[in-house]
């Protein structure tokens, strides 16, 4: 035991995996426990296989872990897929009327629930879920009251009768477990604290609200749709105009239009939708109208594996849009960081009047974790940059040049409606006053001046973003390098490796553009054996780092099967590489053992 406890619920889509999952998560965070949850699912509305892992513990839970302590298979398929992975000390709670266990490893406790007998009065298909939920919590040392409280909240809107039914059946399951099942040796701890639990998508959406986003639009696309759902559900309270648009081309153009007229605008999509947005990304840069786009990566190429995770869009983000222009790209490192990064990105996009891209992925966006509610602060600094929102005292003689050539490359931006500042913002190359160069004459001197003006903003951008920091002992035997969402799993792997006597430190990259390549190389220059860990086939970050800095690591750990890394994947790969031939770049591709 490492101080964490993981519950997994497996079943077909439509069998109700989500509700008991939500109840477990809420119950844990209300006990003052941390939570990290990941749902492996298929692009199917009914049927298939869904497997939700919720891991809890007193300390921060960095990822969904390597081990399941309690399995609730809602159907035979889930039992067959997962029983063999359960180890001594684990328990399996299942409906013995419909699910038959196979051969379990020694020390795995099988806890059959005779559901028909226990719920004779009811025909509800989700009875088995409530029974299993209550029995499981009893075995985990939780009293009935907190479950009753959550069930009451959960079913209140369906009426008192439904609440009573659920409470009754939960009580039956709880009492059955008292009489028939052996409880876990150590009961779930309880602390005087309460955490919030949220998905990365909710964190991104709330981050937008905190950033002062007033216009959000989107076209539904997994796994980014959660941002749209939160925005739409909270539009009224948060005062955000939310629009569903005909396609992602319309989405980004509409967002840029709104931003141009003076609001903070944001949109989210996945790789395919982002591909449609790329022409307008260049428009944002050329018109110098800021826009923030969230790309929630899923396994590609093309439609790919819509419900699976990958870090495969980096090069798309780096190269999106033709021509040269300044851009910002950052990948949040955990769910709280999803919330924190959004206002930061809006501030930089506004200050430098360029597109900002937030690179999330399915693991972060659809995963859930506990967050200290005090961290969800809505008082982040809002810096709109050099913006003209009202006419100053004008004597009619001043000339407003929207694209005035400045040392910083930033030209004060007047929004439509301000008297005395009319101008045309154009995607054609233009002069300082916005007149199209192609309408005047093709002027290489002016074209060069405007290109240099825009690109001068890069210097400011580079100084506005902090370089990454090495975590752990500088002289460690191994340095693990990751970017974005893999922070948690790498941190856990680092702990495990250090416990096993393999000294390991960790460098996680959050800002991709600007990269701070010099600082990274400086850190890595003292690494004894460096490994880049990423969730893609070709080592997109490794190739990017090499292209920017010429840095080549000693090894790579890559995974591109659609599922995220688990800590043991990284630990095993590190050991494999340390035992492998020296002087040769090594590549490990861990196998995902759980068939989901």
């Amino acid at each position: 035991m490492d101080g964490t406890f993981a519950v997994a619920i497996g079943g077909a889509a439509g069998q109700g995996v989500a509700t008991p999952g939500d109840i477990f998560a809420k119950l844990f965070v209300r006990r003052g426990l941390h939570v990290n949850a990941y749902n492996a699912y298929q692009s199917i509305i009914r049927g298939g296989h869904t497997f939700l892992t919720i891991r809890t513990g007193t300390e921060e839970v960095k990822c969904f872990g390597d081990r399941i302590d309690l399995l609730i298979p809602l159907n035979q398929d889930s039992m067959d897929r997962h029983l063999g992975l359960m180890r001594s000390g684990a328990a399996v709670v299942y409906n013995s009327d419909t699910v038959k266990p196979g051969t379990a490893h020694d020390g795995v406790r099988l806890c059959p629930l005779p559901v028909n007998q226990l719920s004779k009065a009811s025909r509800s298909k989700v009875e088995q879920n409530t029974l299993a939920l209550a029995a499981s919590l009893q075995m985990m040392g939780v009293t009935f009251e907190p479950l009753a409280e959550i069930l009451t909240e959960q079913f209140m809107r369906k009426g008192g009768k439904v609440v009573t039914e659920n409470l009754d059946i939960a009580r039956v399951g709880f009492d059955y477990a008292v009489a028939n099942f052996q409880a876990f040796a150590s009961p779930l701890p309880m602390h005087d604290m309460a955490y919030a639990v949220l998905s990365g998508n909710i964190a991104l959406a709330m981050g937008g609200a905190a950033a002062g986003v007033k216009f959000y639009c989107a076209y539904p696309m997994s796994p980014s749709t959660g941002v749209l759902h939160w925005m739409a559900a909270h539009a009224r309270e948060a005062g955000i105009v939310v629009r569903q648009v005909e396609d992602e081309i319309g989405v980004i153009n509409m967002a840029i239009g709104a931003a141009h007229a003076g609001v903070r605008a944001m949109c989210a999509t996945s790789g395919g939708g982002f591909a449609l947005m790329t022409e307008a990304l260049g428009m944002s840069a050329m018109m110098e109208t800021p826009v923030v786009v969230i790309d929630v990566q899923r396994a590609g190429p093309s439609t790919g594996v819509p419900t699976k995770t990958e870090q495969g869009d980096l090069w798309q983000m780096l190269g999106a849009g033709f021509g040269d222009f300044p851009r910002l790209i950052a990948a949040p490192t955990d769910i709280l960081d999803c919330f924190k990064l959004v206002p930061e990105m809006h501030n930089l996009a506004d200050r430098f009047q360029c597109p900002g891209i937030i690179l999330s992925d399915l693991l972060l966006s659809e995963g859930r974790s506990s967050v200290d509610p005090k961290q969800l602060t809505f008082d982040a600094e809002i810096n709109r940059g050099e913006m003209i929102t009202s006419a100053g005292p004008s004597n009619g003689k001043t000339v407003y040049n929207r694209y005035q050539i400045t040392e910083s490359g930033i030209s004060p931006r007047a929004i439509p409606g301000v008297p005395g500042h009319t101008h045309t913002a154009s995607t054609d190359e233009h002069d300082e006053n916005g007149v199209l160069l192609s309408d005047e004459f093709t002027n290489p001197v002016k074209r060069r001046a405007m290109m240099e003006k825009r690109q001068r903003k890069v210097e400011g951008i580079e100084t506005a973003v902090r370089a990454p920091v090495l975590k752990g002992e500088p002289g460690a035997a191994v340095t693990l390098i990751g970017w974005g969402s893999t922070d948690g799993v790498i941190r856990e792997a680092v702990e495990l490796l250090n416990e096993e006597g393999i000294s390991t430190n960790h460098l996680q990259i959050r800002w991709l553009v600007p990269l701070n390549g010099e600082a990274i190389v400086n850190i890595l220059s003292s690494s004894r054996y460096s490994i880049i860990v990423e969730n893609n086939y070709s080592g997109q970050f490794a190739r990017y780092l090499r292209s920017e800095t010429s840095y080549v690591p000693n090894g790579h750990i890559r995974k591109y099967d659609g599922e995220p890394f688990m800590p043991h994947h990284i630990v095993a790969a590190v050991k494999e590489q340390l035992a492998g031939p020296t002087g040769k770049t090594q590549l490990s591709v861990p196998m995902h053992e759980i068939m989901v």
């Binding site: 309460a194 955490y195 919030a196 639990v197 949220l198 709330m206 609200a209 905190a210 007033k214 216009f215 639009c217 909270h234 539009a235 009224r236 309270e237 948060a238 005062g239 105009v241 629009r243 648009v245 005909e246 081309i249 319309g250 153009n253 509409m254 840029i256 239009g257 709104a258 931003a259 007229a261 609001v263 605008a265 022409e279 307008a280 428009m283 018109m287 509610p373 969800l376 809505f378 008082d379 006419a391 009619g396 001043t398 407003y400 439509p416 409606g417 301000v418 008297p419 005395g420 500042h421 009319t422 101008h423 045309t424 154009s426 995607t427 054609d428 006053n433 007149v435 199209l436 309408d439």
Partner: protein
């Protein structure tokens, strides 16, 4: 630049852009530009309260030739950008200008959806039945059989009918003008600007360089004003659709259809309805709301 006092009566000169149009001599687009400038002056709408938005093409260069706030966006995307502008500040007058390729070809999807949303803006398509800026290829409104550089043996496709398409998509103001009928066109532009909701004016704007089929003379022989028929009722959608399908020896121009009973998008939007522009609102969320947003997660 001169700053115009709000009380002063505006003239066409106040709407003169920083540069003169670079269109070919005789281009139909001149008539559209001057009609627009005249109507804006006549209606005494301040240049800074107008945003003229275009896509890409000969006619899409228009925002540079008029003194208002302007956006010269991407090919086909002007209506999407314009929707964003209107949502962010619904006090602004939003005018979208462009050509038939821009609006009905590459921008066809946005055209349809902006109409059904009834976004309160005026969309003027300068329809010359040809791609001019790319030196003469078939456009979505090129007639069947027309020979162009891209279809040298003649267009085998049926053209789009922008009027019937607009009616079918739910546009609440649908009209057709002819750039050589400036008074008639100005009247349509004025009505379009006054209309609360999406106003569409398809304007025959002959391309004197690349389209030798649909010339000024060709249109002059055919156009017939709907306004000349005193029995025509532009609130009758079915009658409008009948007239929209007339094409040949006689081509109707004028206001086909207008309905005023539907709210425009910003009037229907729960955040914007009855309130001030989004762009002027406080960015902070009230602490009471923040508490409730976080409480949901616990």
């Amino acid at each position: 630049m001169t700053t115009v006092l709000e009380t002063q009566k505006l003239t066409v000169a106040d709407f003169k852009g920083k540069v003169d149009p670079d269109w070919c001599a005789g281009c139909g687009d001149f008539g559209v530009l001057s009609s627009l400038q005249k109507v804006l002056a006549e209606m005494n709408i301040q240049p800074h309260d107008v945003v003229t938005i275009s896509g890409i093409g000969c006619s899409s260069n228009l925002p540079g030739f008029i003194n208002t706030y302007g956006m010269h966006t991407l090919h086909g995307r002007a209506l999407a950008v314009a929707t964003g502008v209107k949502m962010a500040n619904h006090k602004l007058h939003v005018i979208v200008t462009g050509g038939d390729g821009d609006g009905f070809g590459i921008g066809g999807n946005h055209f349809i959806h902006t109409m059904r949303r009834n976004v309160d803006l005026l969309y003027i398509a300068m329809d010359n039945q040809i791609y001019g800026l790319t030196t003469g290829q078939t456009s979505p409104t090129s007639r069947k059989g027309m020979k162009t550089k891209s279809m040298p043996y003649g267009n085998v496709e049926e053209p789009i009918n922008p009027i019937s398409l607009a009616l079918a998509a739910g546009a609440t103001f649908v009209a057709r003008g002819f750039s050589a009928e400036p008074k008639h066109l100005m009247d349509l532009v004025k009505q379009g600007l006054e209309h609360k909701g999406f106003s569409f004016i398809d304007v025959f704007s002959p391309c004197v360089t690349y389209n030798h089929d649909n010339t000024y003379a060709w249109f002059r022989e055919r156009v017939k004003k709907l306004e000349a028929d005193s029995s025509y009722d532009s609130s009758d959608w079915h009658e409008a659709m009948k007239r929209a399908l007339i094409w040949g020896e006689e081509i109707p121009i004028g206001k086909f259809f207008e309905r005023t009973d539907l709210p425009s998008l910003h009037e229907a939007d729960l955040i914007l309805a009855g309130a001030g522009p989004l762009a002027h609102r406080d960015l902070q969320i009230a602490p009471r709301v923040v508490r409730s947003l976080i409480a949901e997660l616990m």
